[in-house]
């Protein structure tokens, strides 16, 4: 073998608001106390991870017009929290998910540039957009943008932020900027000098066609849903191919699926643990809820350990509103019933079987091999690990899998640079100031 092997990038997601976070586990601690975030971030840094990743919420989820009460729902505001984490870490990148629909470029560019300064060049921004009036009810601008417009706003938002980050002259004085476009018409002086990374790292989440194009034109990292090895390779090839038309090299965009994992001393042990975790994730109440989202009516009288309803879903029902939409409930119901009958599964078992996200399950050696295989064969450049426990959910991965990746020479044993860009192997952007 010649040359260095392709290196794996690793990031850690703080497991917050979603039904995969197992808050019922006795080891699960606070989802909001700073000590929890500190523990997970320090663990990630001990494991020499590239960055720590926070999701965002701007309105509490509702179900049937009432606040959803089965999942973790509360969380702190990302950028403020990451500034505090910058005080207790030295090298770890700090990535905040921040919505481009309900923020303004000047203020957000300033907050991100401040985080980059105060962390010594470790800031990242995961750009997301929102399309629902539901979230808009918490904001001045209210309303919402349709799907196409929200991506044009996001693209112009990122471009505008970059103009601001470039607006100081190299001798350290602010220079006037002016931006006029369909979404923003702003001018003045930016208050923050160029930050250690030049531009904080930009992450794009989501893998729709518009999302891929946006990532190819504007992002440094794309946070995808993972798939099979084959699906991952297809996504990887397609997305990297798009970069050329924007004058970018394939290495300028890192593809990092969000993945979960379960470790065990043997394959059977890991599989058993994974099954227990799935049971914890799909509580009896969550199983009924998942069913109601397809059937479109109140099924609370059904026994989660009993059979699926024999009647068909109410098509066009407005029973469930908000985030969850099922495109073809009749087809999904038919598929679930077939599966249930074939394997003799209860409601809860059916939901466990059908809603699971692919995980890396096995011994530390097997998981290390599988992760390496994804990266070696260009299905990914790395992974954003989503543990199911707060805050200790990453401990075993760092203790048991990271050393194996290091032994293989595919993951760093020490940080080689101070900034997140240096961890990701990304060049500092050319200063257009």
């Amino acid at each position: 073998m010649t040359g260095q092997q392709k290196q794996i990038h690793l990031a850690a997601h703080f497991p917050g608001v979603n039904s995969t976070t197992v808050w019922t586990d006795p080891r699960s601690r606070s989802q909001i106390e700073f000590s929890s975030f500190e523990h997970l971030a320090r663990t990630a840094e001990r494991g020499r991870f590239d960055f720590f990743f926070l999701a965002e919420g701007l309105r509490l989820r509702e179900y049937q017009g009432r606040i959803h009460d089965l999942d973790v729902v509360g969380r702190p505001e990302s950028i403020t929290l990451l500034n505090a984490l910058a005080a207790v870490t030295d090298r770890l990148g700090l990535a905040a998910t921040v919505n481009a629909t309900f923020n303004e470029p000047y203020e957000l560019a300033r907050r991100l540039a401040t985080l980059d300064h105060l962390s010594g060049g470790r800031a990242a921004w995961n750009v997301v957009t929102s399309s629902d009036a539901f979230t808009g009810e918490n904001f001045r601008r209210g309303g919402y943008l349709d799907r196409a417009d929200r991506y044009t706003r996001a693209a112009e938002f990122v471009a505008t932020a970059r103009e601001l980050w470039d607006s100081w002259s190299p001798d350290g004085s602010p220079r006037p900027f002016a931006h006029t476009g369909p979404h923003f018409d702003i001018a003045g002086e930016f208050t923050v000098p160029r930050s250690p990374q030049g531009h904080p790292v930009v992450i794009q989440a989501g893998d729709s066609d518009e999302g891929r194009e946006f990532a190819a034109s504007s992002a440094d990292v794309i946070f995808t849903r993972h798939g099979t090895l084959e699906a991952g390779r297809a996504f990887y090839a397609d997305t990297k191919r798009r970069l050329a038309k924007y004058g970018r090299e394939p290495s300028e965009l890192k593809i990092m699926p969000g993945v979960s994992y379960v470790l065990g001393d043997t394959a059977a042990d890991a599989a058993e643990r994974a099954a227990v975790i799935r049971e914890q994730q799909v509580s009896p109440q969550n199983a009924i809820l998942a069913l109601e989202q397809i059937w479109g009516r109140d099924l609370s009288s059904y026994d989660p350990d009993g059979p699926l309803p024999e009647t068909d879903p109410d098509v066009g029902s407005d029973f469930v509103q908000g985030r969850v939409r099922v495109a073809d409930p009749l087809a999904v119901a038919a598929k679930w019933r077939a599966l249930s009958q074939e394997k003799g599964l209860s409601i809860r078992q059916t939901v466990i079987e059908t809603t699971g996200r692919q995980s890396f399950i096995g011994t530390p050696e097997a998981v290390a091999s599988e992760l390496h295989e994804f990266v070696r064969t260009d299905a990914a450049d790395g992974f954003i690990l989503v543990p199911h426990l707060t805050p200790g959910g990453l401990d075993d991965f760092v203790d048991r899998v990271v050393p194996l990746l290091q032994e293989r020479g595919v993951f760093r044993t020490e940080y080689t640079g101070p900034t997140l860009r240096s961890h990701l192997g990304l060049a500092e952007p050319v200063w257009k100031g």
Binding site: D69, E77, L81, F139, Q285
Partner: protein, 361 residues
Amino acid sequence: MPVPRPLHLAAEIGGRPHYDAGYYTALALLAERGTLDFVTLGDSFARPGPDALAVLARVAPGTGRIGLVPAVTTTHTEPFHVSSAVATLDWVSRGRAGWSAAVSDTAAEAALFGRRDAAPGDDLWHEAGEVADVAARLWDSWEDDAEIRHVATGRFIDRDRLHYTDFTGRTFSVRGPSIVPRPPQGHPVTVVDGTGAAAREAAVRHADVVLVRADDPLTARTFREEIRNRAAAHGRSPDQLRVLVSLPVELHTSADAVGLARLIADWYAQDAADGFHLRPTDVERDLPLIVDGTVPLLQHHCLLRRFYPGATLREHLGLARPAGRYARSPRAPGSPPRAAHPQPHRPGPPLTKDATAGGRP
């Protein structure tokens, strides 16, 4: 004075902008060594400088007791974001957060956002008051014990202990509830510089700490009396309000530091204020003199405490932790003011997890 009351002392640590965290952390630690109640950090979109709230969040883990009060502007920002960020500062500092509400009244600041024209100060301060109001409502929108982790029913929260704010002001509306659970102090401390008339109206309605700029003790005392009376007229307890004289200071020698102590003691003896907010001309020069010269003298005269008896900014200020306005019934006497994972106080199946497992360290 009929009743001895503690002297409160705070200092501004802004000035020439810095972009390294160590600079601000060193100043905050210095102020903490002087047992000051809090430090303020000014902010504006109109001049160079980092985001003040971010700076004090960065400072929080490296400090232990000092209150952290960044300026937060309310004119071009989203009230929902303001509330979330200040609540988060309270979480990361374990109950030491405040915020100083400010407005942006220039055309230059308006042009940075391109959404609204510059508006008169009266309108902006009315809006700032509304932002303070909705921020407090959002902090209350989670009752302290809303997180129940009730395994038997699968419920992480009790949705009946979460509340919509449904706030409609002149320029914005916020549905709520907050995303951030109720912060450790219930309400982080709201500070308003009430020197101007429009700001004073917002201050008497919404501020916990009012700063006033006055050149002599009599003017300050008159301000304080007016503020207390007007707060009372709004149904607030004046004793849950602190009025601090905001003084510019310029100290070159330890004799200057002694002079400042004498001035503080003299004004304080005349009931000019509940305390002082010192604004150094050169913070790197003046703050060490305040901490090593002025503070020991005030302590020697038993005007200033020698240690922090409490942990939160509200405790430093002697301000009660507010009950949530949406809470259906008052908390039982003697029950803990807050807990990360409170036990349910209503009859119901017991938690299966150890209720102290996720508790505060």
